[in-house]
């Protein structure tokens, strides 16, 4: 479970917090959608929920973020990497740049976690099968279509066997075919019990996937009435 308790976060060099007094809970296996206009704070909330802000990018956090009951404050992102992952809208950002095949790219995370080579291979294989991309195993990561690359980015997180995944506009840069591929993959993940927090403008995607949708505006979550409980 990911819990944000009265969370405010301010980026380094800024006076005003980007998000204010956020109370949000992502239960085990729950799929929560996050909607809001540009600059409303969706991406910031995602970075905070994934434990990357302020640990990686600095800034100031007030309140508490708990992942599976333990506060993330003072913990490095690599300590959280086996619990929560994040996928950005630009799949190219996820490529390590040091893998020459999709299979290696997906195994990169498990290797970093300290898994044995055999375990890393097993995890990569299972993640690819779950997302239906086993056929891409030997392809070069930088030569994939947008949709395929986003599936590889998601698979690279799934291989780390995280219980929660934050997705920041996962279909924003994809064509309709890519959107369809990613939508189906997220459905598979949800069925497999991974908790998903999906920040997205595409409300059709959220309607089809989410248990509930919350709205954010000017860095604050909208009142419960404005958010949809499904």
């Amino acid at each position: 479970m990911i819990e944000l308790v009265k969370v405010s976060y301010r980026y380094p060099g800024y006076r005003q917090p980007a998000i204010h007094d956020i109370d949000l809970r992502l239960g085990a296996g729950e799929v929560v959608g996050l909607v809001g206009p540009n600059d409303a704070g969706k991406s910031t909330l995602g970075l905070v929920a994934a434990g990357l802000a302020p640990a990686s990018i600095g800034g100031e956090l007030a309140g508490d973020v708990r992942i599976d009951g333990a506060s993330v404050i003072g913990r490095r992102p690599h300590d959280l990497a086996s619990s929560v992952g994040i996928v950005f809208s630009n799949p190219a950002a996820h490529l390590s740049g040091v893998a020459s095949t999709v299979f290696e790219e997906i195994a990169f995370g498990p290797v970093n976690l300290g898994c044995s080579a055999g375990e890393s291979r097993t995890r990569a294989r299972e993640a690819m099968e779950l997302l239906g991309i086993a056929g891409l195993a030997e392809r070069e990561p930088s030569r994939l279509s947008g949709g395929q690359a986003q599936l590889v980015a998601i698979a690279s997180m799934v291989a780390m066997r995280q219980r929660h995944l934050v997705l920041d506009e996962p279909v924003a840069e994809l064509d309709p075919e890519g959107r369809q591929l990613v939508s189906e993959a997220l459905r598979s993940l949800a069925r497999a019990g991974t908790g998903l927090l999906i920040a997205e403008h595409d409300t059709d995607l959220l309607d089809a996937l989410c248990d509930r949708i919350v709205a954010i505006e000017d860095g604050r979550l909208a009142p419960a009435a404005a958010s949809a409980q499904r």
Binding site: L47, A50, L52, A55, S56, I57, R76, P77, H78, A81, S82, G85, I86, F88, N90, A92, A93, H94, L95, S96, G97, V98, A99, S100, T101, F103, E104, A107, F108, G109, V111, N112, L113, G114, C115, S116, A117, G118, S120, R121, T122, A124, R125, A134, A137, E138, E140, R143, A153, S156, M157, M160
Partner: protein, 263 residues
């Protein structure tokens, strides 16, 4: 049919690249298959020997008898020369201008430019024949921190990425009517609107990429059990030591005055 991940032998663990098929358009041969450290040692030895001995003869000999044969075997002669010329040209122009202003003549400028060219060619040969993944795996196997190994690999991969980013920005600015062709002044005026977005875009990409790496536990301390590492034959280790010994001998000879001014 057995899936690539089902095979357990190291030579299969890397999939296509382990068989020398790093990318579809990459020509792979014996030079590509050399250990990355061997190729790096040769590149550094050629570079330092050219710088240490100077003149025209030694850099030309090193280029002709070490760099060019390597490039021929690797089948990257044209690309290597193109990269080396691109890297050398601004330096050569600057050197000619400075030497001209100082009244030192053309010979010195040519010697400096040749050394830069040989250095650029040696490094280009290394970059063109060494996939980043191989360098990272090999350095890490030798106990180098993954962060340092990754930084080294990223540096190799940065130029093509920057070139691609520059092309995107250039196309976008052209579409908005920016004149970056024609007279020299027009080209110079066109640089500023290109550099700003390019730098901003590159910084954003780097930030996003480092966050993604953090989320994939890249910063975790401790050794990693790599899926694959490049081979390192005994004769390659011997070749590296020979290159290092020759380099040290050259530097010592030059420092002690045993070797005079070379043509």
């Amino acid at each position: 049919m057995s899936a690539p991940w089902g095979r357990s032998t190291p030579e299969h663990a890397g999939g296509a690249a382990a068989h020398g098929r790093a990318t579809p358009d990459t020509v792979c041969g014996p030079y590509h298959r050399l250990n990355p450290l061997t190729k790096a040692t040769l590149a550094v030895a050629v570079t330092l020997a050219s710088l240490a001995l100077g003149g025209l003869l030694v850099p030309a000999l090193l280029f002709g008898f070490v760099v060019v044969p390597g490039a021929i075997v690797a089948r990257v002669v044209a690309r290597m020369l193109r990269l080396a010329v691109v890297a050398t040209l601004p330096v050569a122009i600057a050197v000619v201008l400075v030497q001209g202003l100082a009244g030192l003549g053309v010979e010195g400028a040519v010697a400096v430019s040749l050394r830069v060219f040989v250095m650029a060619a040696a490094l280009a040969l290394f970059g063109l024949t060494t996939p980043a993944r191989e360098l990272v795996a090999d350095l890490e196997r030798r106990g180098v921190s993954p962060r340092i190994a990754f930084a080294a690999a990223s540096t190799i991969g940065a130029l093509p990425a920057l070139a691609a980013q520059a092309q995107v920005v250039r196309d976008a600015q052209r579409a908005r009517g920016l004149d970056i062709e024609g007279s020299v002044m027009a080209r110079i005026r066109g640089i500023v609107p290109l550099v700003g977005p390019m730098v901003a875009g590159t910084i954003h990409s780097i930030e996003l990429r480092s966050l993604a790496l953090e989320a994939r536990a890249f910063g975790r301390p401790g050794r990693r059990d790599l899926l694959w590492a490049p081979s390192d034959a005994g004769w390659e280790r011997a070749l590296r030591w020979i290159a290092i010994a020759l380099l040290l001998a050259i530097v010592a000879a030059k420092a002690t005055g045993a070797v005079g001014r070379l043509p």
